[in-house]
């Protein structure tokens, strides 16, 4: 009896099989790469950010999202009032909105709880005042005035040869910065700001006080748009 012949792959089949193996290997590599890179892509924007920064970011985002939710709830309420109330409701909503926007844009006097910061210094520049105003705005300031000159984003705070000017008017030190907003957040920001100022040799005095009712009587004169179209 002779032994059965051994199956030997024919030389013509070998390249085909090799191709199949290569294709499978390529597929495996592709899947693995896509899987790893897709995850890396999602996290790329935050990788390298230290945990302290992430924690602050989370805190800021929580606060921001709370504010956005409050705004959305307010808008939903206004929408419901407009849907059911007809034109008298519209008049009421529009009047309230006009008053609110005038206050936001600094077109009317305002008052409310807040803080008063006093900075006496020589040699401070417009950039220093811009920083202080931005710090207070970031702490939730809803209205700001410096030496009885109303300030909002868009009002020019510039350096002139004679000193700092706000909307064209010279503002000489000491600067009295009146701010309306959440007193806790504003006081926290003012505390940090005045502490930093104390280490600045140009600053003679930097203090703040919390007040139950800060009154801001100065207003901004609105300039009509010349270039912008709706």
């Amino acid at each position: 009896m002779s032994a059965p012949p051994r199956r030997v792959s024919s030389p013509r089949r070998r390249p085909k099989r090799a191709l199949e193996i290569w294709l499978i290997a390529l597929l495996v590599a592709l899947v693995a790469t896509v899987q790893i890179r897709s995850q890396a892509e999602v996290e790329r924007s935050l990788v390298g950010t230290d945990t302290t920064t992430l924690a602050f970011l989370i805190d800021d985002l929580h606060r921001a999202n709370d504010a956005l939710s409050a705004e959305a709830a307010d808008l939903a309420q206004r929408k419901a009032a407009l849907q059911t109330g007809g034109s008298s409701a519209a008049d009421q909503e529009l009047s309230a909105e006009a008053n609110r926007l005038r206050a936001i844009e600094g077109l009317v006097p305002v008052h409310g709880p807040g803080i008063v910061v006093i900075v006496d210094a020589s040699g401070l520049q417009a950039l220093d005042l811009q920083d202080a105003i931005n710090n207070l705005a970031a702490a939730g300031a809803e209205a700001i005035a410096v030496n009885d000159h109303r300030v909002a984003m868009g009002v020019a705070v510039v350096q002139t040869p004679n000193g700092v000017s706000i909307d064209g008017a010279l503002v000489l030190p000491p600067w009295t910065i009146s701010v309306i907003g959440d007193t806790n957040r504003l006081a926290e920001a003012a505390d940090l700001m005045t502490q930093q100022m104390h280490s600045d040799r140009r600053v003679r005095q930097a203090t703040y006080r919390v007040e139950a009712d800060v009154v801001i009587t100065s207003i901004i004169t609105q300039r009509p748009f010349v270039y912008a179209n709706p």
């Binding site: 199949e20 499978i24 290997a25 597929l27 899947v31 693995a32 899987q35 790893i36 924007s45 935050l46 950010t49 945990t51 920064t53 992430l54 602050f56 970011l57 989370i58 800021d60 985002l61 921001a64 956005l68 705004e71 959305a72 307010d74 206004r78 929408k79 407009l82 849907q83 007809g86 034109s87 519209a90 008049d91 909503e93 529009l94 009047s95 909105e97 006009a98 609110r100 926007l101 936001i104 844009e105 600094g106 009317v108 006097p109 305002v110 008052h111 931005n134 970031a138 300031a141 809803e142 984003m153 868009g154 020019a156 705070v157 510039v158 309306i180 010349v226 270039y227 912008a228 709706p230």
Partner: protein
């Protein structure tokens, strides 16, 4: 015979695919969870991502509600002259506070990070930061800008800038990182000249030289600015 062969290939492919997923999962797990510290870091990153998603969703909802309200006010204005007059007044106030889109001649300012180098005064000099953005926006408004947006976020009278290292947080939005495009509508020539003035933006100019930070300005005949899509509440302010 051929059918069996095809089946065999399919089985091998399926096994290979499953192996691929397993290998990838394993590699990822080993890369990312060697310690509790990394796991904690991952949890923080996930929290930020979730909060950013919620943030985007809330802003989209606010934009949609404002559009609905605008439509309802428009319908009411059709029925009453008083309402129409009020609506016109509010439309103007909304435009000035950034609540509506505007367009017109203006400039594009592109800011890009530079090349890493030794820090200056503890600051990471090669990264565009929130103070750079604040300086550019202030300069634009002081030079005839009537409306400005930063990275697609419209600036309002109450806007503020914050952040750390290369992150730029504007109002209630998620952090932006360079490259950032600033758009401004207004007196194009004045804004362009102010941005090109070598004595303006001294800190940025200095870092342009030290770290190759890039600030490119282009005049454009028609720039469109988006509407503000976040909160504009002033709960502590009263009018007399």
């Amino acid at each position: 015979m051929a059918r069996n062969r095809l089946l065999g290939i399919l089985v091998v492919a399926a096994v290979a695919l499953a192996t691929g997923f397993l290998v990838a999962g394993q590699v990822r797990a080993q890369l990312l969870t060697p310690s509790n510290q990394v796991a904690r870091y991952q949890a923080l990153v996930r929290s930020v991502q979730d909060l950013e998603k919620a943030n985007a969703s809330s802003r989209a909802k606010i934009a949609s509600l404002r559009s609905d309200i605008d439509g309802l006010e428009g319908a009411a204005a059709q029925q009453s002259a008083t309402t129409r007059a009020l609506q016109n007044e509010v439309a103007d106030l909304r435009a000035h506070s950034g609540l509506t889109t505007i367009h017109g001649p203006g400039v594009l300012v592109d800011l890009r990070n530079g090349t890493p180098g030794p820090d200056v005064n503890g600051q990471i000099g090669y990264l565009i930061n929130y103070q750079d953005m604040q300086d550019v926006v202030n300069l634009l408004f002081a030079s005839g800008g009537e409306g400005v947006s930063v990275g697609g976020r419209r600036i309002t009278p109450l806007s503020s800038f914050s952040g750390s290292a290369g992150q730029i947080v504007i109002d209630q939005g998620p952090p932006l990182t360079a490259p950032v495009r600033v758009l401004a509508v207004g007196d194009r020539n004045r804004m362009f000249a102010a941005l090109e003035d070598p004595s303006a933006l001294p800190d940025l100019r200095d870092r342009e030289v030290r770290f190759q930070i890039s600030l490119a300005v282009t005049g454009v005949p028609d720039v469109k600015l988006p509407a503000y899509d976040s909160s504009l509440q002033i709960p502590h302010v009263s009018t007399p």
